[in-house]
């Protein structure tokens, strides 16, 4: 912290007050890690099938557009 700019008396006093907050850090619940990992696992399982469904849907839309476009040209 030697790159700290000059601080006045009020800032130094403020820093003393902030020690109260540094001394009592909020702590996460023990459930946080398992919950995050469970959701990450579920989302990673779903990601691949959803991507396939999306690609099939996109291919279907492209195919339909080509059919409609082709039939308009022929008429």
């Amino acid at each position: 912290m030697n790159d700290e700019p000059e601080t006045g008396p009020a800032e130094r006093r403020l820093d003393e007050h902030l020690e109260l907050l540094r001394a009592t850090p909020p702590e996460p619940s023990t459930a946080l890690v398992p919950r995050v990992v469970r959701k990450a696992r579920l989302q990673s399982y779903l990601r691949a099938p959803l991507r396939v469904v999306g690609m099939i849907g996109l291919a279907f839309v492209h195919g339909l557009a080509a059919l409609v476009g082709g039939s308009r040209k022929s008429s």
Binding site: M1, D3, P5, T7, P9, A10, E11, R13, L14, D15, H17, L18, L20, L21, R22, T24, P25, P26, E27, P28, S29, L32, V33, R35, V36, V37, K39, A40, R41, Q43, S44
Partner: protein, 206 residues
């Protein structure tokens, strides 16, 4: 002096070890190793939660932490290793927290209700007077911290509560170094003014 140099050297070695370990876990997690991701989350959950809680407040801290960690999981491919993994992760936490605050309906902060609420929450139980007083002051201070502008609050939390280097804060907030220092200076002044205007005497010299 020699001792300080030795201590700096040890800190650098420890930091480099932590970074190497993180990078290894990131590589494994990218390849689908969910256990590696779990270890990453476990290593950084405390700082993620502390920063989230100090920026958005305790009620939303859990949601913001979870949201940020899941975003990080899906964006692991974008981590290039230029900054530390902690800085990269805290940038996501910082952005998630600020987005959360933007969505929130603004509430008046620092009114007499807040003070009464802080005092009320300190009541009850049989705590020694000194500890009770310290807890009350802490709760009041947390409420006042919530009165800062979010981007000021974030910088003050990262520097004055987490003790991070300006360079790391610049990475996290995606801001130039000069802006970080300026924002921190303004944040401290703003908090001093908020505390001076409080009925509780914080004994801040002018």
């Amino acid at each position: 002096m020699d001792l300080a140099r030795t201590s700096d050297g040890l800190t650098a070695v420890a930091f480099s070890f932590v970074t190497d370990e993180d990078n290894l876990l990131v590589r494994r997690a990218r390849n689908g190793d969910i256990r590696a991701f779990e270890q990453l989350v476990d290593r950084h959950r405390a700082v993620v939660f502390r920063v989230a809680a100090r920026v958005v407040g305790p009620h939303d801290a859990d949601d913001v932490s979870q949201d940020a960690l899941l975003r990080a999981y899906h964006r692991l491919d974008s981590y290039r290793g230029e900054a530390s993994f902690r800085a990269w992760l805290l940038r996501i936490v910082h952005n998630t927290a600020l987005n959360q605050l933007e969505r929130r309906v603004p509430e008046p902060v620092g009114g007499s209700d807040d003070i009464e609420q802080a005092a009320r929450s300190s009541e009850g139980g049989r705590e020694p007077v000194s500890r009770l007083e310290a807890r009350e002051r802490t709760e009041r201070l947390e409420l006042k911290l919530g009165g800062l502008r979010p981007e000021h609050r974030a910088v003050l939390v990262l520097r004055d509560l987490e003790g991070m280097a300006y360079e790391e804060i610049a990475e996290i907030t995606d801001s130039p170094l000069g802006s970080v220092k300026g924002r921190l200076h303004r944040a401290r002044n703003e908090l001093v003014e908020i505390l001076r205007n409080n009925t509780y005497d914080w004994e801040l010299p002018r």
